[in-house]
C-alpha cells in the first residue's frame, strides 16, 4: 500500500481501495477508491440506489465487503480479525431516520456509547453531553424522551450523540431527507458548525446547495462507481463528466 501523497506521517483518516459489494448478482459497489483527509468534508451525491448508503455502512463495518481494503487512519479495518465494535466506536454515524432510542431520555441516548463502549464515568459523560446539548439549544430537552422533540431536534440530538465520543470520522446518511422542509435548516446549520470546527465528515446528501457551500469535495456516485471526484466549487460550476451534468440538471434547474 502506498503512503499518502503528503508523506508517511499522516495517513488519510479514511482510505478505500477497490471496494466491491454485491447483493445476489446485483453489484451495488463496483470498485470504490476514495481518500478522505483529516478535517475534510466530502459530499457523496448520486441518484437514489447508486450505492451511497451501502458505501457508508461498509465504512462503518455494518456491511460486509466482497473485495477491497478499508484503512482507518492507516489501520486495515477490513481485516477479518478486526474488532468491529472498537472500529465503530471510532466512527460516528447518523442515518436518515429512527436514530434515537425511544425508551431512553435524550441525555441517556447521548451518553450511552460513552458509558458502555468508552467506559467514561456517568457523571463525566453527562457533563459533556449537557454541554453539547446546551450548545445547540437542546439543553432543556436533556431529560425528555425523543417523542417530545420535533424531527429536526431529534436529528440534531442524533448528531450530538454521534459526536459525543469524539469520533475520528463522522458519517451522515441523508440526515435531512426524512424531515419536513422547514426543519431541514436547523440540522444543516449544525452540520455546518461541525464542519467549521474541523470535524472530518463524509455525508450522503441530496441538498446540493448545502453541499456546494459546506463540502470541500464532491464525490459523484453512479451505479456503484465514482464517476467524478472534484472540489465542490468545480463540481457545481463546471462538472467534467456528462453524467454529472445530467445529474445536476435534475437538482439545480438553473444550472
Amino acid at each position: 500500500m502506498n503512503a499518502s501523497p503528503a508523506g508517511l506521517e499522516t495517513p488519510p483518516v479514511l482510505r478505500l481501495r477497490g471496494i466491491r459489494r454485491a447483493f445476489g448478482d446485483h453489484e451495488v459497489l463496483r470498485g470504490i477508491d476514495l481518500d478522505v483527509a483529516a478535517h475534510e468534508v466530502v459530499a457523496l451525491v448520486g441518484a437514489s440506489g447508486s450505492g451511497k448508503s451501502t458505501l457508508l455502512r461498509t465504512v462503518n463495518l455494518l456491511e460486509r465487503i466482497d473485495d477491497g481494503v478499508i484503512l482507518l487512519a492507516g489501520e486495515d479495518v477490513s481485516d477479518p480479525r478486526t474488532d468491529a465494535d472498537r472500529v465503530r466506536g471510532r466512527i460516528g454515524v447518523v442515518f436518515q431516520a429512527y436514530n434515537l432510542f425511544p425508551h431512553l431520555s435524550v441525555l441517556d441516548n447521548v451518553t450511552l456509547a460513552s458509558r458502555l463502549v468508552h467506559r467514561i464515568p456517568r457523571a463525566e459523560a453527562e457533563r459533556r453531553a449537557l454541554g453539547l446539548l446546551g450548545s445547540i439549544g437542546l439543553g432543556d430537552f436533556a431529560r425528555s424522551f425523543p417523542d417530545r422533540l420535533s424531527g429536526g431536534q431529534q436529528q440534531r440530538a442524533a448528531i450530538v450523540r454521534a459526536i459525543a465520543t469524539d469520533p475520528e470520522l463522522l458519517l451522515l446518511d441523508e440526515v435531512t431527507s426524512a424531515l419536513d422542509p422547514e426543519l431541514v435548516g436547523e440540522v444543516l446549520e449544525l452540520v455546518r458548525a461541525l464542519a467549521a470546527r474541523g470535524t472530518t465528515i463524509v455525508m450522503a446528501t441530496h441538498e446540493m446547495a448545502f453541499a456546494r457551500d459546506v463540502a470541500d469535495r464532491v464525490v459523484f456516485l453512479d451505479a456503484g462507481r465514482i464517476i467524478e471526484d472534484a472540489p465542490a466549487r468545480e463540481f457545481f460550476a463546471a462538472p467534467r463528466e456528462a453524467r454529472s451534468r445530467e445529474f445536476l440538471s435534475r437538482f439545480l434547474p438553473e444550472a
Binding site: R86, R90, V93, F95, A97, F101, H103
Partner: protein, 278 residues
Amino acid sequence: MPSDVELGRRAFRRRQTRRSVLVSALSTLVLAALLAVALIGSPGWARVQQTFFDPEVAVAALPRVLQGLWLNVQVLVVASVGVLLFALLLATIRTLRGPVFFPLRALAAGYTDLFRGVPLIIVLYLVGYGIPGLDFFGRMPAAFWGTIALILTYSAYVSEVFRAGIEAVHPSQRLAARSLGLSHGQAMRRVVLPQAMRKVTPALMNDFVAMQKDVGLISVLGAVDAVRAAQIETSHFFNFTPYVVAGLLFVLLAWPMIRLTDWLSARTRAREQAGSLV
C-alpha cells in the same frame, strides 16, 4: 367563552350521551330478566339450585377453599417469575447468531415446538409422577412439581411472545446501537429488549391470566389447592356448591388483571394510532 354554535353542539352531545346510557341500561335489564325467568322457570331449577348454589354449603366450604387458593397464589407467583426468566433465556438463545450457537438454537427451537404442542395436563402427569421416580431430588411436594410443569409449558408460549417482540423492534434500532460500538449483547440488553418488553406487555399479561386459571390443574397431582379443596368439600357435603365457590374465587383473582390487560392494550393501541398521525 365558546360560541353559540359550539354551545349548541355540546348540549346536543350531552343529550345523545344521556340517551345512549339509558338505552344500554334498559337493554341490559331486559336481557338479565329474560335469562333469570328462563333459568328459574326451567323444570330442573330447584334441584340445580340445591346442588350448586346452596348458601350454607358455600359458607361452610369457604375457609378450606380459600386456604387452597392461597397455595394457588403462591404457585402462581413462583411460576410467573420462573416463566419470565426461562422464556427470556429461550428467546435470547434463539436470537444468537453464529455457527457455535447452532446446537443451542436448535435445542431452544425444538423445546418451544414440543412444549407448545403437549397439553399441560400431560406435562403435569409426566413431571409430577415421572421425575420423582428418578429418585434424584429427594421428596418434593406435589405443588413443587406442578410449578415446574407450569414453568416448562408456559415458557414455551412466552418465549415466542418475547421473540415476536424482539422482531417487532425496527431493525435500524439495532443498527444504530451497533454503529455506536455497542456489542451484540449490549445492543440486545440496552436497546432491543427494553423496547420489545414494552411492545409485548399486553400479550404477556394475557398469558398470565391464562396461567392464573391453569394453576388449578396442579390439583391432579394431589396438591391441596382451591380445586382439590373444593373436591374434598364436595364429597363431604354431597353437594357441588364448593366448585362454584372455587370458580368464583378464581374469577375474583383474575379479574383485576383482566381489566388491567384490556386497559393497557387499549392505551397502547390509542398511542400507536396517535403516533401514526405524526
